[in-house]
């Protein structure tokens, strides 16, 4: 199974390989311009590991909860 965003350490750059179908989440991700193939990096996790702060592309910063992060499958890039 591919790792999802929850398996990724802070500071590691990854590429999105799949976004699971879940309407509200997918809608929001797409609206923020986050698509399959994009590069993202986890910049921080709040206390107890949730929510996660993410940097997307050149300079989009946003945060989401664990259960949404689990829907995003990723692969590590060197």
């Amino acid at each position: 199974m591919m790792p999802n965003l929850l398996d990724v350490k802070i500071g590691q750059k990854v590429r999105i390989t799949k976004i699971a179908d879940k309407n509200q989440t997918t809608l929001k991700l797409f609206s923020l311009g986050i698509l399959v193939g994009d590069e993202i990096e986890i910049t921080s996790k709040a206390l107890f590991g949730c929510p996660l702060a993410i940097k997307h592309g050149e300079g989009n910063f946003f945060a989401l909860r664990k259960d949404h992060a689990a829907l995003i499958e990723v692969e590590t890039i060197a």
Binding site: N23, Q24, T25, T26, L27, K28, L29, F30, S31, L32, G33, L35, T43, S44, K45, A46, L47, F48, C50, P51, A53, K55, G57, E58, G59, N60, F61, F62, A63, L64, R65, H68
Partner: protein, 656 residues
Amino acid sequence: MQTILLVGSPNSGKSTIFNLLSGGQRKVSNYSGITVDASTGALRSNKLEGEAPIQIVDLPGIYNLHPSTLDEGVTVDSLIGSNSRFSEYHQVAVVLDIQRLETSLALAIQLKELVGEKLLVLVNKVDEQEFFNEEHRVKLEKALGSKVLSLSALNEDQVELDKFIRKNIEGERLKVKGKILATKRSLEYFGKGSEEAVEVVDSEKVVLENIKHYQEKARQILGTVYNQSDRIRSQKTHKIDKVLIHPLWGTLIFCAIFYLLFYSIYALAAPAMDFVDGSFGLLADTVAAYLPEGHLKSLIVDGIIAGVGGVIIFLPQIMILFFLLSILEQSGYISRAAFLTDRVMGFFGLNGKAFLPYLSGFACSIPAIMSARTIPNKKERMATILTIPMITCSARLPVYILLVGTFVPSYTVAGIFNTQALSFFFLYFLGTFFALLTAKLFRLSFYRGQTSSFFIDLPHYQRPRLKTALKQMWRKAQTFLKKAGTIILGLSIIIWCLSTFPTLDAEKTVGLSDEVVASRSLENSALGRIGKSFEPVLKPIGMDWKMGVGVLVAFGARELFVSTLGTIYALGDVDEESKSLRERLKAEISPITGKPVFSLAVAWSLLIFFVFSLQCTATWAIIKKETGSWKYPIYAFLYMGALGYSGAYAAYQMLI
């Protein structure tokens, strides 16, 4: 009159542009979801000779034309002409956030298809990304086929912006082309009369593909505009975030920031407060020296000066609170605070987005309840709306400061914490904690359901502008003073009349000391009789009838508690020298026990009552408006009143 709509992604600066062009006073901040309703304003330049009248409409932010919250619905409705407030408009200006150009551009492309050549493009925040130059602007203009202006609304590029709009606005009424795709589920966000412009699709997939399509198109266009070397600068934000949203340091800093916020409201204001207090004392003495004894003198000195002055001394606190909040809001920190507290919000069954309405609840419940519109899920929204009023708003500030400052002894504990500041912090905490707890209970009962998604933009950090902070502070000061000069003044006069008339018969006062006469006259007055009649209810919570009257009047607005006590105690005071309300409260002796009426227990009983109870008619009205039924403000009033009374009872019985 020509009308132009301002549309753009959240936090792209629409309201800043609106204020700049119209001289309006819309609240602006550096986080998403501040603007939740439409506002219209005339351009400032309309007043210039020979200029055609143009009005501008500020709208809530949207990412695309598929609304998923009520506030987004307002914008989409306005675009398709089903907003009843302005069914006609002539032009659309889309605001692009240069820090998030891709997503903003996707919206612009979608709008372009909807309104065609009637679209103007404003690239905002160019001061933050200096690499964006004229060449980029021209390329973007070409690729989009719309006129593009780059500007910095915060740097007040007003003249150029105004000219740009005037040059490009065209006369005819705008008619949208094509239809907006919507799923059945999202129809609740559209208003009446929107049916014509909406095409209902069965599958969410269609909508998703549509959004993706525009995002991809935006990337294509951006690829032709940007060169390889053009990079958005984001290192500053990235670096600051390493500390501010760090799981440990971030959390500690969060606590420190909010403790310092409350501490400064308390500590910084003290000298200013003493000054205002002293000035009113001097004013009362001066007026008293010139007026002959009698009702007129009493009305002015004991009614108006003691009542209104008692409230105005809290002006410094109000100003400091809003100044500091504005600095925090502008910096971009607020979204980080939402991030850090999301876990807590989630635990109480709320969306992390509820943090923002709760936070604005510290200023005032009314805008806070309105901003709950950004919460997509109806059940979460209801739970948020019905608990917000327990968040300590700025109207409670005067009551807290009066009672804490007078009755909580001030000393230092654990080396750094001041007891009064801690009490203050505790009151804020108590209200917030119970708001969350009640929200949780609601989410487990009436508004049961899954906690919906939490996505939040973390905007780039930005240097707060002193001018913006001072403006916000001044605006709040004006509102406060206006209230003092109108409602509070009026009520102080009424309270004075009610507590003076009917007067005691002269025969009954023969041979009695001045103090006894003063207190008997008060008890004999209309207000005294009303107060006495519900003294039995007040006894278990340690209050006497005077406080009871204060609490009763405070149902109009909480500050009235302070002005009412100011008037009542001034009347009961026979000393020639005018004293501050604090000194009078401390000196009040019960005729029955011979002990001071106010004790720590009484003060806390009052404080706790004020933490919970919903004493604000304006809040009742906004709850009715946002929920659509009077049922809800009544529920809220009853449960908060019950909490307030039992809390006050517990506090009094524990401390007595």
